[in-house]
Symmetry: C2
Subunit: 509 residues, 2 copies
C-alpha cells in the first residue's frame, strides 16, 4: 500500500477509536449505567464526539486525503485502496460541508426536541412538539442546502443514510410495492382472522425466553467469543470492533415473539458486523454498506428465515418444550399462522412484515412534503391520519398512536425511514437468489442447519463491508438492480397459503 | 472564580472526560467484554490515554496553569481555587518531567514484562521474568532521576502514589510497626490455632453470597443509584463520575469471606468516591487524596468494621439464615475467632489483617535496595525468601508463592506497596478518633446502623476529595500526624482477646 494512504489510514484510526469508545459509553448507558450517571455520561459523550469530529474534519485530514487520492488515482474502483479513499472522501465532504454552527444548533435543538417529544407523546399533545419539529424541519432544509442536491432537497438527507440513492429512485421502488401491497392487505383483512391468544397467555417465563434467544443466536452463527447479548428496553446492535459486536433483546412476559424476533433481527445486524474482514479494522471500510443494506441483513434473518415454515419445523418442538403450558396443545399449522398474523395497526415497530412497509410510505411521503413546504408542520397530524386511513384503513385515535410515535424526528433525523423498506426489498432480492444458488437451503433449517446461509452472506455481502453503495453491492453480489418485485412475490406466495387466499395473483409488473 | 482558573478548569475537564471514558473501557474489559475484543480494546485504550496525555502535557496547559497560578496567588491554601491550581501543578510537573521516550519505553517494557511475568509465575521460573524486571528497575531509576528527589531515589517514585511522603517518613512509621508486630505474631502462633473449617465447607451457594454482599453494601450506605456491583476475578472499584462509582466482587463456593470482605473493602473505596462533592466534578480535585488515604477507607470498612464483633453481632444471624447448613451449629464466638484467624502465609492478598503488613515490609525494603543497586535483580528470590523467614517464619517453596506473586512490578510500578500499610495505619488512626467522637458507634452496628460512621467520614475526609496530601488531611480531620501506634493498639487489644494472650503488652513507644 502507498505511503500516503498509510498516513491517511493511521490518522483515521485514531478518530475511529474515539468513535468506538463513544459507542461503548452509549452501550453502557443503555444496559448497565446507574441512573444518576447520566449527566456525566452526556458530557463524556459530547467530549468524545466533539474530539472525533474535530479530528475528522481537520485540515490535516483534508490534506492527507488529497494526497492519498493522487496516490490511488487510476487504481481499480473495487480495490481496497481506491475504496478506502472514495469512502473517506464521501464522509469527509458530508462532514465538512456542514458549518459547525449548524451542527451545534442541530444538536441543541435535538436535545430540547427529544425532551419535548417525550412529554408530548406522554400527554398525547402534539402542540408541545410542534414548535420543535418546525425548527428541525427548518434546520434540515438548511442542512440539505449545505450538502447540495440536484433534483430534490430530500436527496441530500437520504444520502447521509443511503449513499448514492435518490428520492426518485426510492419513489420508483415504493410505488409498485404500494400498488401490490394494498390489494394483498385488503384480501387478508377480508378473511377470518387467525387466533393467536396462546402467544400471549399464560405468562411466558422471561428466563426461558432468554435461553431460547441464546440458542437461536448460537445456531444463527453469532459468535459469542466476539460478542454478547444483554437486555435493553429498545433492542439494538452495537460494535466496537469486528470482534466485539453486541446485541440486546427485550423480555416481556406476555410477548415471547418480541424477544425471539428481536434477537433474530439484531443477530442479523451483528452477523454482518462480525463478518467485516479483519483487514478493514480501524478503517472507514469496516462495517456495513449502508443503513438499507444493514437492515436487509436483520430483516432477512428476522422475516425470511425466522418467520418461515422451515425455521419453525426445527424450532417449534423446542419452543413447545420450553413452554409446554402455553403451546403443548397447539398444532404446528395454527402456531405458524399465529406467528404470521397480518393486521393493520397503529404502531410501526409492532407491525407485521407486510403492513410494516405501509407505515414507512406514510413517513417517507410526509417527510418529503414537510421538507419542500407543501405540508406545514401544523397540518402534520391530519395528513398523517389521512394516510393511515388510506393505506391501512384505520385512523389513529390520538397522536401518541399517530405522528408522535417515532423518536427519529426528535433526534433531528429526516431521511432515515425509507432505509427500513429498502432493507426489506434487498432482503427479499438476496433471499430469492440464495434459494436458487444454495439447493436444499430450507431443508437444512429443518435440521437446525443455518451455516450455508451465513456462508453465502459472508461471501457475497459481508466481506465487502463498507466498500460499496447498496446498488453497487447488489450488482456485485447478485447482478441485479434494486427491485420491489421479489418482496411482493415473497408476500403473495407466503400469505396466499397463510390466509388461504384463493385466486389472488400479483398484478404483472 | 477568576477567569484564568475558569479557562484552566474547562481545558482540564476535557482531559478528565477522556480519562473517565478510558476507565469505562477498562471496567468493561474486566467484567463484560467478549474474549476476542481484547486487541481492539487495547488500541482504543492506548488512543484515549495518548490523547489525554498529549492534552494534559501540552504547552496550552502549561500556559493556562501559569496564568491561573498568578490569579490565585495569595489565596488561602485550603481554598478550592488555590487547591485546584496546586494539585494541577503537581500532576503537570510529574507528567511533563518524564520525556515521552521514557513513557513509551516503559509502556512497551511493561506489556512484555506482564506477559513474561504471567508465564514465569505459571511455570514457577523466575529466570523468565528476571531480564524484564532488570529493565523495569533500570527504567525506574531513570524515572526517579527525571522526577528528581532530595534524599532517596525511592522518594520520587513513592511521591507518584503518595504525594508529599518521603521514604524516611515511611521507614519511621514502618519500623515501630514491625517491632510491635513480630512479637504479637509470635505470641499468636504459639497458641493453639482456631478452627475455621466451617468457613469453607460445605459449598457456599454463590447466589446467596451475592445477595449477602448486596445487603452489606446497601447497609454501608453505598448508593446503588450512583453505582453498581458486578463480578470480576480480581475485585476493584472504578469511577467515571462521583455519581457513577462501581465495585466488583469475587464469588467462590468455598470462600464466602472473600466475597464479604471483598465487597466491604471495595465498598469503602466506593463510598469515598461517591462522597466526592459535586462542585469538584470534572476537575483535578475530584476523587481521593492519595493511594494511602484511599486504602484507609477500604481497610477501615473491611477490617475495623467488618471483622469486628459489633458488626457480626448484627450480621451473623443473617449469615446463618443464608447458610444454615454450614453455620447453624457454630456459636458466635467460634465464628468470630475463625473470621479473625491469624496465620503466617505466603500470599499477600490472602493474608489476615495482622500479618498483611509484614508482606508489605518485605516488598518496601526490597524495592528500595533494588533501586539503589544494593540488591541485584538476580538475587531477589533469595532475598525475598530470607525476609519471609525472618518476618513470618516461613520460606516460600517456590517463586510463584514468593517474589512472582504480585502483578505490580510487571506493570512497571515501583513505589506502590507502602501505600497499603499506610492505609492500614491511617484507618486505625481515624477509627480510634471516630470512636471517641461518636459515642455508641459500635452499639449502632449491633442494630445494623452504619450511617453515623459514614456521616463522620463524609464530613472529615470525603468532602475534601483530592485537595490535600495524606498528612495535610489527617491534620485537618483529627489534628494528628501519621502514627503507627493506633494500629498496634488495635491489634494488641483485639487479638489478646481472640487468641487469649494473657500478659502480652504492647511495648512502650
Amino acid at each position: 500500500m502507498g505511503e500516503k494512504l498509510e498516513h491517511l489510514k493511521s490518522h483515521m484510526a485514531t478518530t475511529i477509536d474515539l468513535m468506538h469508545a463513544a459507542a461503548l459509553l452509549s452501550w453502557d448507558q443503555e444496559v448497565y449505567m446507574p441512573p444518576q450517571g447520566v449527566e456525566a455520561r452526556s458530557q463524556q459523550l459530547a467530549t468524545l464526539s466533539t474530539l472525533a469530529h474535530q479530528m475528522f474534519t481537520s485540515d490535516e485530514t483534508g490534506e492527507l486525503l488529497a494526497e492519498a487520492e493522487a496516490e490511488v488515482a487510476g487504481m481499480d474502483y473495487d480495490s481496497d485502496e481506491a475504496s478506502n479513499v472514495r469512502v473517506t472522501r464521501r464522509e469527509y465532504d458530508q462532514h465538512t460541508k456542514l458549518p459547525t454552527s449548524l451542527v451545534s444548533e442541530m444538536s441543541l435543538t435535538a436535545s430540547q426536541a427529544f425532551a419535548a417529544w417525550r412529554q408530548a407523546r406522554e400527554k398525547q399533545d402534539y402542540a408541545l412538539f410542534e414548535p420543535h419539529l418546525q425548527k428541525i424541519v427548518d434546520l434540515n432544509r438548511r442542512k440539505a442546502d449545505y450538502l447540495g442536491y440536484e433534483a430534490h432537497p430530500y436527496d441530500a438527507l437520504l444520502g447521509l443514510f443511503e449513499p448514492g440513492m435518490t428520492t426518485a429512485q426510492v419513489e420508483a421502488l415504493f410505488e409498485p410495492l404500494k400498488q401490490g401491497l394494498i390489494p394483498l392487505i385488503q384480501a387478508i383483512t377480508a378473511q377470518p382472522q387467525v387466533d393467536d391468544h396462546f402467544l400471549t397467555e399464560p405468562e411466558y417465563d422471561v428466563e426461558r425466553q432468554w435461553e431460547f434467544t441464546m440458542l437461536l443466536l448460537r445456531k444463527m452463527g453469532y459468535d459469542f467469543r466476539r460478542g454478547r447479548q444483554d437486555k435493553a428496553p429498545h433492542p439494538f446492535t452495537i460494535n466496537f470492533a469486528n470482534r466485539d459486536v453486541r446485541v440486546t433483546t427485550r423480555l416481556h412476559p406476555h410477548r415471547p415473539l418480541s424477544a425471539i424476533f428481536g434477537s433474530a433481527h439484531e443477530g442479523g445486524h451483528a452477523l454482518y458486523e462480525q463478518g467485516s474482514p479483519d483487514k478493514f479494522e480501524r478503517s472507514v471500510l469496516a462495517g456495513g454498506a449502508s443503513m438499507g443494506v444493514h437492515e436487509s441483513q436483520s430483516r432477512l434473518w428476522e422475516n425470511q428465515v425466522s418467520r418461515g415454515k422451515a425455521f419453525w419445523s426445527y424450532y417449534y418442538p423446542i419452543l413447545q418444550a420450553f413452554f409446554p403450558e402455553q403451546l403443548e396443545g397447539v398444532p404446528f399449522w395454527e402456531f405458524y399462522r399465529a406467528v404470521n398474523k397480518v393486521e393493520p395497526s397503529f404502531i410501526r415497530v409492532e407491525a407485521d412484515e407486510v403492513t410494516y412497509n405501509l407505515h414507512i410510505f406514510v413517513r417517507f411521503e410526509l417527510e418529503k412534503s414537510l421538507l419542500t413546504g407543501e405540508l406545514s408542520v401544523a397540518d402534520l397530524p391530519d395528513a398523517w391520519n389521512a394516510k393511515y386511513q388510506a393505506y391501512l384503513g384505520i385512523t389513529p385515535p390520538n397522536d401518541a398512536l399517530g405522528c408522535l410515535q417515532d423518536v427519529h424526528w426528535s433526534h433531528g433525523d429526516i431521511g432515515y425511514f425509507p432505509t427500513y423498506t429498502l432493507g426489506n426489498l434487498i432482503s427479499a432480492q438476496l433471499y430469492a437468489q440464495i434459494k436458487q444458488e444454495v439447493p436444499g437451503l430450507e431443508d437444512g433449517y429443518r435440521n437446525g442447519e443455518f451455516a450455508p446461509l451465513l456462508t453465502w452472506l459472508r461471501e457475497k455481502i459481508h466481506r465487502h463491508a463498507r466498500k460499496f453503495t447498496a446498488a453497487e453491492l447488489l450488482q456485485r453480489a447478485i447482478g441485479q438492480e434494486l427491485d420491489a418485485r421479489p418482496l411482493l412475490e415473497y408476500f403473495y406466495q407466503k400469505y396466499a397459503e397463510v390466509y388461504q387466499l384463493e385466486g389472488l395473483t400479483l398484478p404483472a409488473a
